[in-house]
């Protein structure tokens, strides 16, 4: 894993812990199957990501799978080009 990815993954884990108050072990903790991520938590997570990465996440092409874990979120942000502007 690249240092940028590792840093972003760690940042997202912290967001999940601090802003959502969810107890996640690490970047691979499954938020969907574990039932940790409900509608309210997802809204708070989207707001936290948009604020932290100064981006607007898509409205229509929004796959819940991207939010399965901190690692998947990192991959999603990277593929969306969000990380390029923050970590050139």
């Amino acid at each position: 894993m690249s240092p940028v990815r590792a840093e972003v993954g760690s940042l997202i884990v912290d967001l999940i812990r601090d802003r959502l108050g969810l107890d996640v072990e690490g970047p691979d903790t499954d938020l969907l199957d574990s039932g940790l991520l409900d509608s309210l938590a997802l809204v708070m997570l989207i707001a936290a990501l948009e604020e932290s990465f100064a981006c607007e996440l898509p409205l229509d092409d929004f796959d819940l799978e991207h939010f399965r874990s901190a690692r998947r979120m990192t991959e999603f942000l990277e593929s969306s080009g969000v990380l390029e502007s923050r970590f050139p």
Binding site: L32, D33, G35, L37, D38, S39, L40, A41, L42, V43, M44, I46, A47, L59, D60, D61, F62, D63, L64, E65, F67
Partner: protein, 377 residues
């Protein structure tokens, strides 16, 4: 790839199956009436707006995992036409992989091209989601009021709602006698029972409502932009929502014969009457409320419930109405000036203009239908 797209007519069987399963009977076989109801309220109603459609959340294989209903209303703000979107039925499939679909649907809906978005039947949980998405609580409209006419009957109703069948049946049986004993005392205390009104009423017609709201434009900064086709549809749908009782629509005239206002409510004999709209643009709100309360009382209602509109608050207090909890009314608008007007007496956006009154959860369920009753003016 999963995602959100607009609801199509051929999605209705799947959407209704999901709604039937999650919200209604638990069956995955929706009634034909429900499918027809969704069709006419989403696609075939006069103000259906393709720019602000109902939405579905689909999995990568095309399976529908959630949906949100859209009910668009037309309003005027300082005589400028605006589109008001009512965020309606919201359902997500119960399996864990769809757990966040509801929030994604609300988020997408709020980002639509409408000027104002409201929902007036929201739960605490939905309120928190809306607030997280930039929505606000419409404070007065999230507060209910109650005019108690037959307190013992209300007690029976509350027992029934809280699942105390035996207590409910017992209290309901003796309620008429208790109320008969209490009501003369309430009458002597003053303000508790509605007096004989000094006004008269006639049925509020489709054209009558359109005309009255249009005439009130000079006094209202934010109001519905009713037209006959829409109001005709609205009145027919009010009648189709059978579980709340009989819809009553009255135009109220003063002694001189001049119109002082109007009201629309669902009347349930020995039950709870639910007010949808009370308006008195000339300012005589008390006279209109008096007629409404008297009408409900004469027809046997146990209580009249409504939500606190800014124009009503002073008159409600004078008439010994109590504040009671009700569903949350939430609003979202990009222009804060619109939100500011919503909370003033210069706005006439009532329950009639939301989706609270609609009968998604009861259509086609005969056991929820209120028995027919005779209603006079």
């Amino acid at each position: 790839m999963s995602g959100i797209r607009e609801l199509r007519r051929d999605d209705l069987p799947a959407v209704c199956a999901l709604y039937e399963q999650v919200v209604r009977s638990g069956s995955t076989e929706p009634s034909e009436q429900l499918v027809r109801y969704f069709e006419r309220t989403f696609f075939d109603y006069p103000w259906s707006d393709p720019d602000i459609p109902s939405l579905v959340y689909t999995d990568s294989d095309g399976t529908i995992g959630g949906f949100i209903g859209s009910h668009v209303r037309r309003v005027r703000w300082d005589n400028r036409p605006l589109r008001l979107a009512c965020s309606g039925q919201l359902v997500a499939a119960p399996d864990p992989r769809h757990r966040g679909a509801g929030a994604l649907l609300v988020r997408r809906y709020l980002a639509g091209p409408q000027d104002i978005t409201i929902t007036d039947g929201a739960t605490d949980y939905m309120r928190r989601i809306w607030i997280g998405l930039g929505g606000q609580t419409h404070a007065s409209a999230s507060t209910g009021w109650a005019k108690f006419l037959r307190p013992a009957a209300v007690g029976g109703f509350l027992m029934q709602r809280s699942g105390h069948r035996f207590l409910s049946r017992s209290l309901t049986a003796v309620a008429p006698a208790i109320d008969a004993a209490i009501r003369p005392i309430l009458g002597r205390l003053g303000g508790f029972l509605p007096p004989e009104p000094v006004t008269t009423a006639e049925e509020l017609s489709v054209d009558g409502l359109v005309e009255q709201v249009s005439d009130a434009a000079r006094r209202l900064r934010l109001r519905p932009d009713y037209d006959p086709k829409y109001v005709q549809w609205l009145f027919e749908e009010l009648a189709a929502v059978g579980f709340r009782g009989v819809p009553v629509r009255h135009l109220v005239r003063g002694r001189s014969g001049k119109v002082v206002g109007w009201y629309i409510y669902h009347l349930a004999e020995r039950g709870i009457a639910q007010v949808l709209q009370v308006a008195a643009p000339m300012g005589d709100t008390g006279a209109v409320l008096d007629h409404l309360f008297r009408h409900a009382d004469v027809h046997g209602a146990a209580a009249v419930l409504g939500r606190v509109e800014p124009s009503l608050i002073g008159e409600l207090r004078q008439r010994r109405c109590f504040l009671v909890p009700t569903d949350w009314c939430l609003v979202h608008a990009r222009d804060p000036a619109v939100l500011a007007v919503l909370g003033t007496p210069q706005a006439l956006i009532t329950r009639l203009d939301g989706e609270w009154w609609m009968g998604h959860h009861s259509i086609g369920l005969s056991e929820k239908r209120h028995p027919p009753m005779r209603v006079s003016t």
